[in-house]
């Protein structure tokens, strides 16, 4: 099963992504948890469960976990076709981390993620250098959390050199928090 990193909050949050499941047993009194109505849930009912829960229940044969729509065959074809134009933030906030967790279910995932990551990360580096323009802003909106963090780090690293060139590197600045409270 997927290796989880116990202390990584992003990894934990990535496990919240819901995956479709099919129940294999009748459940009494849990109707309110699913589609609602009666208090009994019958087998073969479909439930969308968070991955961390579905994974465990799948192991114990209470449910059959299906491949998440994020990595369905059709979605995968789209990722391969145009990695740079995908709106990853809208698809899944923790796209890569979730993909890493799902790895055993879909064998193409490592290859797919690698291609996407390499192509997109180079664009991240490029827009970090360019600064503000329409294309860059659009792309920045489509980044998932992992990529967005990289973009921020890149921008910081680049600005640190130009700041230092202007001799601002030694100046102490007021923290944004105190500035906003005072204002």
């Amino acid at each position: 099963m997927a290796r989880r990193s116990y202390y990584d909050i992003d990894d934990i949050l990535a496990g919240q992504e819901r995956v479709p499941c099919v129940l294999r047993v009748d459940l009494d009194g849990l109707g309110s948890a699913g589609s609602g109505g009666t208090s009994k849930v019958h087998r073969n009912a479909r439930w969308a469960l968070p991955y961390w829960m579905a994974d465990r229940l799948n192991e114990e044969d209470y449910v059959d976990m299906e491949v998440s729509p994020v990595f369905s065959k059709r979605a995968n074809r789209m990722y391969t076709a145009s990695p740079e134009s995908m709106q990853l933030r809208a698809i899944c906030q923790y796209f890569y981390l979730f993909g890493l967790q799902l790895g055993d279910m879909v064998p193409d995932i490592p290859q797919l993620l690698r291609n996407m990551f390499m192509q997109r990360i180079i664009k991240v580096a490029r827009i970090a250098q360019q600064g503000q323009n329409v294309e860059a802003l659009d792309f920045a909106q489509s980044l998932d959390k992992t990529e967005a963090r990289m973009l921020k780090l890149c921008q910081q690293a680049q600005s640190s050199i130009s700041e230092w060139h202007k001799n601002n590197a030694y100046a102490l600045k007021r923290a944004a928090v105190t500035a906003s409270t005072a204002g």
């Binding site: 055993d104 690698r114 990551f117 990360i121 963090r149 780090l153 690293a157 640190s160």
Partner: protein, 211 residues
């Protein structure tokens, strides 16, 4: 003390500048002075028209108190930089050879010893050009990133530092994907192996039945 994100992601620019200060540089002293014994080594004696090598920090200190003239290093000459720029701009050119701390040294000399340089404004402009060309080349070079290494020769300390967060985290991601890929491959092989052995068993039993 609070540690900023920049500090966990590599060096800060003031730190790099500090490191660059121990590079040695040639000066022409303007005053007579005996040898000075420092922790890093002995400098001097200073005999006026004779050139001596001192660490950069000492050169800057002497320059500020007007006790020396700094001899600009060869690579910081206008013509040399112009050649470098030209060579760097050629398509498919490798990174040209420059000192590891060239940005920091140039910055310090341009700040503190501008009058010892020939055409300081031109040098400033060329350095800026050089940096921009190298920067876009660095980003092209990132395409060669894989889970083992990223090789770009003749990058300076500040330039490496600039892309450090990017390749650091990318390595991490690619390595995790590698582990995952090999894990799935292994499990696939195992299931194939299991199927094969079942079919072999079937064959064996089938052979038994026919007898």
């Amino acid at each position: 003390m609070a540690i900023s994100t920049r500090q966990t992601e590599g060096f800060t620019m003031p730190e790099l500048e500090y490191l660059a200060q121990s590079e040695s540089i040639t000066i022409v002293p303007l005053h007579r002075m005996d040898r000075v014994e420092l922790v890093r080594g002995v400098v001097g004696p200073f005999r006026p028209p004779q050139k001596t090598e001192v660490p950069l920090w000492l050169a800057v200190m002497l320059k500020r108190t007007n006790r020396c003239r700094i001899v600009a290093p060869k690579w910081l000459a206008f013509e040399h930089l112009r050649d470098l720029c030209r060579r760097e701009e050629q398509p498919d050119a490798m990174f040209t050879r420059l000192p590891v701390h060239y940005l920091e040294i140039a910055h310090m000399l341009l700040t503190h010893a501008e009058d010892d340089l020939v055409e300081p404004q031109g040098i400033r402009r060329l350095l800026q050009d050089l940096r921009e060309v190298r920067q876009s080349k660095t980003h092209e070079g990132l395409r060669m990133l894989n889970s083992q290494q990223l090789q770009m020769d003749n990058l300076s300390a500040a330039e490496i530092n600039e892309i450090r967060p990017l390749f650091r985290h990318s390595f991490d991601m690619l390595r995790q994907l590698d582990v995952l890929a090999s894990a799935t491959e292994e499990s696939q092989q195992q299931s194939q192996f299991a199927e094969n052995s079942y079919s072999q068993m079937d064959d064996a039993f089938g052979a038994d039945y026919t007898h």
